[in-house]
Symmetry: C2
Amino acid sequence: MPTKYPGDADEVRALNAYICLLRATESLLAKSAQNFRGSRLTASQFAMLECLLFQGPMKPSELAGKMLKSGGNITMVIDNLEKRKLVQRTPHASDRRAIIISLTAAGNKLIESLMPPQVACIKDQMAVLTPGELETLRQLTRRLGTAQ
Amino acid sequence: MPTKYPGDADEVRALNAYICLLRATESLLAKSAQNFRGSRLTASQFAMLECLLFQGPMKPSELAGKMLKSGGNITMVIDNLEKRKLVQRTPHASDRRAIIISLTAAGNKLIESLMPPQVACIKDQMAVLTPGELETLRQLTRRLGTAQ
DNA sequence: ATAGAATAATTTAACATTAAAGTATCTAAA
DNA sequence: TTTAGATACTTTAATGTTAAATTATTCTAT
């Protein structure tokens, strides 16, 4: 989003920070995506497997909430992972409306093999900043993320 | 992307900053998108109109470069904006392979009306940080964005 | 106990996104 | 000058994304 907006000092400061923030995120995501491209996983598919690995089996609606995506989308991502037998649907014990998504053995093996390189990649990219700068970045972006 | 990865101090620091950065960006983008949703513009369509407003008519390949999107995608975004007569294709003066995309009068009017609220929205959201913090954020994210 | 509201997942339609293949045009080297 | 490669845009196929509508089930107030 290239913006050369002729505004006052406050606007220029806000827009400059905004644009750098967006570009940094784009850059980090693009680089991270290279790690799992070889496994023919999309970003959403990787995120779902990661979510199931660290937080255990859950309902599609819970996945949607954690991944910040719409429900219809989640259904399709599950469909595509299920075709490859990386996740499975099982009926919910007490609520017949609901289902539980869990990793298969193959899915668990795949995502566990992908996590260490993924973490290393993020660590490498963030290493252009010092530990103190990383902490500052965390605090600043944390406040932005919860902004109303 | 919820990650509870059991790693060393460096990894935890990098991952925490990374996650906050991604969430902040998601939050900002979601809020900004509300400004042009009433005009039935998608984020890509808005970005293209904004690009043409501030940087003038250009070729699809230039739009792809500035918007960091693939060429095939640009063709479709142009198609959809052209259907609504917000942009137009004209032949390139000297290169018959190329075309030039420009705003129509209606497109110019629309994007000009949308920019002030958009800028105000970003300014408001960034206002949870002080001017000094914004400058710090800009510098830190600028370095991350250009990381190899 | 039952009607209405809420919830859970899916389906559908429209648009977005990428990668790969295709077509047309241009450029530069032999 | 001709040809090979590069460039510019489009098309196609597969997946992703959202919003809205649909179906099935559960919850809740009467």
